[in-house]
């Protein structure tokens, strides 16, 4: 592949990781301070349950989505867009670099950072109070699942980042809400069309029908395979298709971007 070189990808990764390192350090200091403060205060109140997953979760998702939304910001800034687009590297290499930095890079970086900060916080707790919360374990199934879900869902924000000139994070969220509302309306209208014979005033009253089916076991036999099929399709779409589709859209958009 003439338009892909590991060397150039490495150079782009180095550049993307080093870009804005000051802001990253400031954000890390602020988050680190907040985590230590919350950890110490909750230990003071003797709330010694597991708090670290609850703290890491927003850092991973909200922080990651914001970082992802900012990743292609330079594309639309005066002067910077020209600089970035003429930097020797193919669109594929540039896209892969941003993807790796904001997905795996951010997930692993935040995991490493949070493990260190939470360990420090718990160390402080134990020095001050002689006790503390359970240490944050980055290798639990729950944490690894969260990281995997992040890698999939951040792809949507990558599309937003390359599409929107300004306020990509807010606009992506608004579009997701809009998508949710449209989907709800479509489902509601479809349900109304299918079940309108069971309408009781403005609502659909399926209870008598369902009870009858339930008693006969017909409901179980009909609906369970359907529901399982639906869940299977939804899982395949989420784990297998959602992120790649978003990546392809982002890459094509980057390739088509003019400055």
């Amino acid at each position: 592949m003439r338009d892909f070189s590991i060397r150039r990808l490495g150079l782009l990764l180095r550049r993307d990781f080093s870009a804005g390192y000051k802001s990253v350090f400031i954000a890390m200091a602020a988050v680190g301070g907040f985590v230590i403060l919350v950890s110490v205060l909750s230990a003071l109140g003797r709330e010694l349950g597991s708090i670290h997953f609850q703290l890491y979760f927003p850092l991973l998702f909200i922080g990651g989505f914001i970082a992802t939304s900012l990743s292609f910001k330079e594309l639309y800034l005066n002067g910077q867009g020209v600089f970035y687009l003429t930097l020797p590297g193919s669109s594929l290499e540039k896209f892969l670099s941003k993807l790796l930095v904001t997905s795996l890079g951010y997930a692993l970086g935040s995991l490493f950072f949070y493990t260190a900060v939470s360990s420090a916080a718990e160390g402080i707790n134990r020095v001050i109070f002689g006790y503390g919360h359970a240490f944050f374990n980055p290798f639990t199934r729950r944490v690894l699942l969260a990281v995997t879900v992040y890698v999939v869902t951040q792809a949507v924000f990558l599309v937003g980042s390359v599409y929107f000139r300004k306020l990509a994070f807010i606009k992506t969220n608004l579009y997701l809400w809009l998508f949710g509302i449209v989907l709800t309306i479509v489902v509601a209208v479809t349900a109304w069309v299918i079940f309108r014979d069971y309408a009781v005033g403005p609502r659909i009253g399926l209870e008598p029908y369902m009870q009858e089916l339930g008693r006969s076991g017909e409901l179980e036999a009909v609906l369970r395979p359907m529901a399982e099929k639906f869940l299977q399709v939804a899982k395949v779409l989420f784990w297998g298709a959602a992120a790649p589709v978003c990546w392809i859209i982002s890459y094509l958009r980057l390739r088509e971007t003019e400055a």
Binding site: L85, T86, S90, E258, A259
Partner: protein, 287 residues
């Protein structure tokens, strides 16, 4: 053509439904420092952007060093350095800039870069964001020259440079003109480019109305200073100046006179239709 220059054929491009360029043809060959002149809004910057793949043509073809810039292939970008009028200089030290960006250009020459920086009187250890506008521009020019790219696109390169820097810029660029390189300079500051750019390309209302080497200009045009403002068909352009009138006529005597770029530009713009008859068809007499 040739995988060695720029060939634009029947190119159409516009920002709105009204096209800026319609069926534009242009051929540029290696080994020249081209000057791209034109009025505001003539399309000079758009042309540079089309050449380096920042804008895509709506029709026609554009081939740069044997590749289509539209796809921004990495191998082509490694050979193009574009310094726009509104440039970007990140808030990092000059040393870090070199570390981060020089490896993108396989033929980058670090010794030459240091030499250019010295000639521009730029010292290291400072962040680029702490440089003045002119210093940033000089830094990026030095970097661009050191990349040894085969295509150097400079948009208004002397804007913001002080007088000594303009002179240094001319010297460096004259040295940088190599046989396997095209330097294309878009500028309004024609006086800064005197004796540097050759051939001259004049873009007007989205069309190349003039593309000639300076020897052709000297051969075809006669420039003189006259006390009385002349009139008549033989006069192409007159301009009142200190001590009389600069008068441009068709060169029938064969005498060699030197037209400055400003006079040449004004002559061409004032004689869009006649100038084509005086010179050989655009691009055919290219050196």
């Amino acid at each position: 053509m040739t995988d060695t220059g720029i060939e634009i054929k029947n190119l159409s491009f516009g920002y709105t439904k009204e096209l800026l360029f319609s069926n534009l043809d242009l051929t540029l060959e290696l080994g020249n420092i081209y000057g791209l002149l034109g009025k505001n809004g003539a399309g000079k910057t758009s042309l540079l952007k089309l050449i380096c793949g920042l804008r895509f043509p709506e029709a026609g073809s554009c081939s740069v060093l044997g590749r289509e810039p539209k796809y921004r292939p990495a191998a082509l970008l490694e050979d193009i350095y574009f310094l726009p009028e509104e440039f970007y200089a990140p808030a990092i030290s000059s040393e870090l800039y070199q570390q981060l960006y020089a490896p993108f250009y396989p033929r980058f020459n670090p010794e030459a870069f240091q030499e250019y920086l010295r000639e521009f009187d730029l010292r290291g250890g400072k962040k680029l964001s702490e440089f003045s506008y002119g210093q940033k521009k000089k830094f990026l020019l030095a970097f661009g020259l050191a990349t040894r790219c085969r295509l150097l696109l400079l948009d208004e390169p002397t804007n913001g440079l002080d007088i000594p820097s303009k002179s240094q810029f001319r010297k460096l660029l004259a040295r940088a003109g190599e046989e396997d390189r095209i330097i294309l300079i878009s500028t309004h500051q024609v006086r800064d480019m005197e004796n540097l750019i050759d051939p001259i390309i004049i873009l007007d209302e989205g069309a190349i109305i003039f593309q000639q080497p300076m020897y052709e200009v000297t051969r075809c045009l006669h420039v003189g200073l006259e006390q009385v403002q002349p009139s008549g068909d033989g006069v192409l352009y007159t301009d009142k100046t200190l001590g009389g009138y600069v008068v441009v006529r068709k060169n029938v005597s064969g005498e060699e006179t030197q037209a400055d770029l400003e006079t040449l530009f004004n002559t061409v713009i004032a004689n869009r239709d006649r100038i084509g008859e005086l010179f050989a068809p655009v691009g055919k007499e290219e050196v």
